[in-house]
């Protein structure tokens, strides 16, 4: 591995991430999968770092799940998104930040489509007006919430209590970073670091003391793949893709996985259990699984949040071995507190 080569690519794929005043939209599914991630994100940026993040209870799904599982047509999707943009415009914001990678891909795809087909944008404006008497401006910037944490990574480290370092050995933790496919594979220039060697999570992991593993199936899908999981007959593909990734990363003995997509941490986490049931194989150097985190959870750990306030008890693969490696103080009994 030639790090200089990667740095060169990273320098070519830098994007503008606004400093402040964001309109924040949540993901449909993350609050069930990883319930504290978004809450912690808002707490970090608002209360710890004093930034302006506006959120409205009126926002809905972006429609991505339905769109990617062939339940709604593109015009419906675009009208839903137009309504989200209208909510942003009404609130007086221009910087749109979303928590979900699917949404991030959808927003970029739609804005790009409208750029090439202005008549379609006009049609959607008409549909939105007919449906809700709303109007909208296209956001000045669309970023993913992981872009924001990436931008703030050094500030988080400065305010941090822990680092991604093995307390006993002093060695950096070995981190697998997994990027949601729709973060930059659709539009490489929209992602920090591009599509082949994304830097957004690598930047966080390195800033916080870890070292990142580049394994052969790094670029492969987590296994969710929408239809692969949503259609039960295809579910074998879903787990087989996840299995392929774990087989590929296992020789590198990763300590943890960091992700930035709603589906990826879920499948990388939950499928480890199913693979164990099906194949009798448990990953991880100590055969305790490889803990999987959202980037907000990792930022929370670095900042010294109580692991159980981060919702880590909701993970299938136990996180305690990693907490112990870092030397995070936590109360075992609190894991199941209500």
């Amino acid at each position: 591995m030639i790090v200089e080569g990667k740095k060169k690519i990273w320098s070519e794929y830098q994007k503008d991430i606004p400093d402040d005043h964001y309109f924040y939209v949540r993901s449909c599914i993350r609050q069930n999968f990883f319930p504290a991630s978004e809450k912690v994100f808002l707490d970090i940026v608002r209360n710890r770092l004093g930034l302006d993040f506006f959120e409205t209870p009126h926002h809905t799904t972006c429609g991505g799940i339905a769109y990617h599982s062939d339940s709604i047509p593109q015009e419906t999707l675009m009208t839903i998104v137009a309504r989200q943009f209208a909510l942003m415009t009404e609130a007086g914001y221009e910087n749109y930040v979303c928590s979900c990678i699917t949404s991030f891909g959808i927003y970029n795809e739609i804005i790009d489509t409208w750029h090439h087909y202005p008549e379609l944008e006009a049609k959607i404006r008409g549909l939105l007006w007919e449906a809700s008497k709303r109007e909208f401006k296209i956001p000045k910037s669309v970023v993913h919430a992981s872009d924001v944490i990436y931008k703030l990574r050094n500030t988080i480290l400065e305010n941090g209590k822990y680092r991604l370092v093995n307390k006993t050995t002093g060695e950096p933790l070995r981190v697998v970073e997994h990027i949601g496919c729709h973060y930059s594979k659709m539009f490489p220039s929209k992602g920090v670091g591009g599509a082949e060697y994304p830097y957004v999570l690598t930047g966080m992991a390195e800033a916080w003391g870890g070292t990142v593993i580049d394994y052969p199936e790094r670029r492969h899908c987590c296994g969710f793949g929408f239809r692969q999981y949503l259609v039960q007959a295809n579910r074998g593909y879903s787990i087989s893709n996840t299995h392929k990734k774990f087989e590929s990363m296992a020789p590198f003995k990763p300590d943890m996985i960091i992700t930035n997509c709603p589906g990826c941490p879920y499948f990388l986490d939950r499928w480890q259990y199913v693979i164990e049931e099906l194949e009798g194989k448990t990953y991880g150097a100590d055969s305790k699984g490889i803990p999987v985190f959202t980037y907000e959870e990792v930022a929370g750990l670095v900042l010294g949040y109580d692991p159980w306030d981060l919702g880590l008890q909701m993970h299938q693969t136990a996180v305690e071995p990693l907490l112990d490696k870092i030397g995070i103080i936590y109360n075992k009994e609190d894991k199941y507190k209500i």
Partner: protein
């Protein structure tokens, strides 16, 4: 009217044209942007299809023109038509008055790092065909240590609209086969794979080389474009392709991957066509007045073309074209003199 002819580019085309113009009684002047003559040939070790040494060929081209004036590290900055002549401003403040200009600005090799998924400059085991040629020639540049498995990836930056190069670079297929045989020759225990889309063995004796690669060197040809390259735990380079002849995805771990970088137009061609108002085609190369009967004719009076400025070519093709251009210049200048 002078008898001076400016040759832009001191590669095979420029050298051969200079020789022919000297023989015809003109005074060619070569302008070369690098600090040595020979272009890409000067960096090459051996040539297809029979493995002739590049420096022997280069010597044959340079020797006859050793007394021809050459500006090294120099480029053309401006050229103005003054009557029948051109007043040409060169970098470094020099000036030449010439009666004709021959553009032999050559080509560039596709920068392999642009195909990010192939990991050139990122994975240690990934090199280019020109890196390998340099290593054959000098033993320097890249570290090749008794590899047991080597893969050649054809069409890197050729036949690829994603990187804005639709054209076939023509010479890389046979170069890959030549280099694959050389690797097998140097490392008899190695296994060598060529990943190709089509094998374009168009020239005389190329098919013989391909046959030898199959039956003597046992090079394994896999029809399928490599989709991505990565590195495994031991530092081996893992490549994925489809084996299209069996319709199955394929994976192999290699010690060395050689990217066959294609021939593309470059800044020099862009710049000189701007200065001389020459037309360029969609592929970036200069468009001649007639692509079948007058490849040497730029369509602009007094300006001629030779070699890869009009698209990928082999060395023998380039040399033939250089001679054709020299003759065309002679015809042009003779007519002018009579007038």
């Amino acid at each position: 009217m002078t008898d001076r002819v400016l040759i832009i580019g001191g590669g095979p085309a420029g050298l051969e044209a200079a020789n022919q113009l000297n023989l015809l009684g003109y005074k060619p002047v070569i302008v070369e942007k690098e600090d040595i003559l020979g272009g890409h040939l000067a960096k090459w070790d051996r040539l297809f299809p029979e493995g002739e040494r590049a420096d022997t060929v280069l010597y044959k081209l340079i020797k006859p023109v050793e007394h021809t004036p050459v500006y090294l590290n120099t480029i053309v900055e401006k050229a103005d038509k003054e009557g029948n002549n051109f007043r040409v401003k060169l970098s470094g403040g020099k000036e030449e008055i010439v009666s004709a200009i021959l553009v032999c600005a050559g080509f560039s090799l596709f920068p392999a790092e642009k195909k990010e998924e192939y990991g050139y400059g990122i994975y240690n085991g990934v090199i280019t065909s020109s890196d390998l040629e340099k290593w054959f020639k000098t033993g320097k540049g890249v570290n090749i240590n008794n590899p047991s498995k080597v893969g050649f990836v054809h069409c890197v930056g050729s036949r690829d609209e994603k990187v804005c190069n639709r054209q076939c670079s023509k010479v890389c297929c046979v170069t890959a086969v030549k280099q694959a045989c050389e690797i097998r020759e140097k490392f008899p225990d190695s296994e060598v794979f060529c990943f190709y889309m089509d094998l374009r063995m168009f020239g005389r004796k190329y098919e013989d080389l391909y046959l030898k690669a199959q039956n003597k060197y046992r090079v394994r040809f896999i029809r399928g474009r490599v989709s991505e390259v990565s590195e495994d735990f031991t530092g081996k380079v893992v490549i994925k392709a489809e084996d299209t002849l069996s319709s199955k995805p394929l994976k192999v771990s290699l010690d060395l991957v050689v990217l066959m970088t294609g021939m593309i137009s470059n800044n020099s061609i862009e710049k000189i066509s701007g200065i001389l108002s020459l037309n360029r085609a969609e592929d970036g190369f200069i468009e001649p007045a007639d692509t079948i009967t007058k490849m040497y004719d730029s369509g602009k009076e007094g300006i001629f073309l030779a070699g890869a400025v009009t698209g990928p070519k082999t060395i023998p093709e380039t040399l033939s074209e250089a001679r054709a251009s020299a003759l065309a210049i002679h015809n042009y200048l003779s007519k002018k003199t009579i007038q």
